[in-house]
């Protein structure tokens, strides 16, 4: 267990030193994953709600795909985005490969299914209660969707957390499309992978502890905001 206490003190030390290289990496991690989770929510929340509310041919298949896509392997997503963004790929002219933008794109692909699938289930459960009533009041499908998203907003947050967790923690996709380039596309997880490669497990663990602490801070902040809003609204 010595390893762990060493790692903890190392983590503490790194944080106290406020090492600028570390701050840069933390900043990029947060920037990439928060942007990705925002975009994924903008797509996934209405998508999930629509799949819960609209009946159309082939919906079952899309839902199954969505549930399965919660298990998209990061490396595969990374490869696909790589092929699309690479110089010889269809979007090669944009020159996005090995930039933070490419990392955001890959993470959006990874987590949109998670946000959408979890949103679908939450809206489906709420719909049980609300559907008939809203319909009787004259709400059209699109309005019903908005109303349900709003009424369940506190519950939906948990799905968004799950998406954020996946984004901030994954390494396979960002490594391939970002390249873990020092001072350019190195984020916490790729840095951890690098230290692990080097066999510096202590440093890798210390970085891991810092990453988890950051996740904890972000989630706690959002949770308290949610709690305050919830108290206010009831």
């Amino acid at each position: 267990m010595n390893d762990f206490s060493h790692a903890f003190s190392k983590a503490l030390q790194l944080i106290i030193q406020l090492d600028p290289a570390l701050l840069e990496i933390i900043g990029l991690s947060l920037r990439v994953s928060i942007t990705a989770v925002l975009i994924a929510s903008i797509i996934g929340l209405p998508l999930g709600a629509a799949l819960a509310l609209y009946k159309f041919y082939g919906r079952g298949i899309i839902v199954a795909l969505l549930n399965a896509f919660m298990g998209l392997p990061p490396v595969v997503v990374g490869l696909v985005v790589y092929l699309i963004l690479s110089r010889s790929g269809p979007l090669g002219v944009l020159g996005l490969l090995f930039t933070p933008t490419a990392m955001i794109i890959a993470q959006v692909c990874l987590i949109t299914p998670i946000v959408a699938a979890l949103t679908r289930q939450t809206i489906l459960d709420a719909n049980d209660e609300y559907h008939e009533q809203l319909r009787a009041l004259g709400a059209k499908a699109s309005r019903m969707m908005k109303t349900l998203l709003w009424e369940t907003r506190f519950s939906l947050m948990t799905g968004v957390f799950a998406g954020f967790g996946r984004a901030i923690a994954e390494v396979g996709a960002v490594l391939i499309v970002g390249g873990n380039i020092n001072h350019a596309t190195r984020v916490m997880t790729t840095a951890i992978a690098l230290e692990t490669r080097k066999g510096d497990i202590e440093l890798a663990l210390a970085l891991g502890i810092i990453l988890i602490t950051i996740s904890l801070i972000v989630t706690s902040l959002v949770m308290s905001a949610r709690h305050a809003a919830y108290q206010y609204h009831s």
Binding site: S86, L175, I176, G179, N182, R186, R197, K198, G199, I201
Partner: protein, 257 residues
């Protein structure tokens, strides 16, 4: 079925050499060899912690330190391979014409053409830094500009070099087995400073009771025997011999205390 655990580097594993050697060894002894392919640093760490029975890596300084600290008890030279410099077909730095690796690096730095470094403290990375120091270029000052530290394994670094049309230095084995080449091509080879010695080290059974010392020694002995050496020489990729056996002398030994 009996087996030993061998920790080695990804570049060795990527080349396919071990997949070629192990069945031969198994055929002879009935012992399987399970390969954990990781970075040099972690390969040694696995041995230190007793998670591998035997280590096959290629960074002599670290290997000797490993023996010194008593983590390993017997190091033998096995073979060497070499590094090559690859880059875009157009070769903007014109390194194809030069004879010395350091010169090639200098040309790259002169036109500031993108260069991808492993940047992971691996044996390959250290060799690359040695070459940069020979050119007199302070390479760190360009980090994040044209000199890019990928902090990744050889394969991942080649993937990035391809994606960015950049130069990089690779061991020949990984390069030959690497498929995602597109515009990437071999531009420089065969300079003695690029040679790369491999050593095999037995993990100290005194430190870990469960270490399969006897079986591991069988493998080490076989690999350095005439039969093993011949097998290494026989292994080719795309018609080229990748590894050159040179197990004639023992570099360092220490009897179990």
């Amino acid at each position: 079925e009996p087996f030993i655990t061998l920790s080695s580097t990804t570049s060795t594993d990527n080349s396919g050499l071990l997949d070629y050697l192990i069945p031969k060894f198994k055929n002879k002894t009935g012992i399987d060899v399970r390969v954990i392919a990781v970075g040099t640093g972690r390969a040694l760490l696995l041995g230190e912690r007793g998670d591998a029975d035997i280590v096959l890596v290629h960074h002599k300084v670290s290997e000797e330190k490993f023996i010194e600290k008593g983590f390993g008890i017997e190091r033998k030279d096995v073979m060497y391979n070499d590094y090559v410099i690859v880059g875009p077909k157009q070769d903007p730095a014109k390194i194809k014409q030069v004879k010395k690796a350091a010169k090639a690096f200098q040309l790259i730095s002169k036109i500031q053409s993108p260069f991808i470094s492993r940047g992971d403290d691996s044996g390959t990375h250290k060799k690359e830094l040695e070459l940069w120091s020979l050119t007199g270029v302070n390479i760190q000052q360009y980090s994040g500009e044209w000199y890019r530290e990928a902090g990744a394994g050889m394969g991942a670094t080649l993937n990035i070099a391809n994606g960015m049309s950049a130069y990089t230095m690779s061991d020949r084995g990984t390069w030959l087995s690497f498929k995602n080449r597109d515009e990437l091509t071999l531009l420089f080879e065969n300079d003695p400073p690029l040679f790369n010695q491999y050593g095999i080290i037995l993990v100290n059974p005194e430190r870990h009771a469960h270490i399969k010392h006897k079986e591991a020694k069988l493998f080490s002995d076989w690999l350095t025997s005439n039969e093993g050496q011949q097998a290494i020489a026989d292994f080719t990729l795309e018609g080229q011999q990748l590894f050159f056996p040179n197990a004639q002398r023992e570099i360092a030994t220490a009897e179990p205390h």
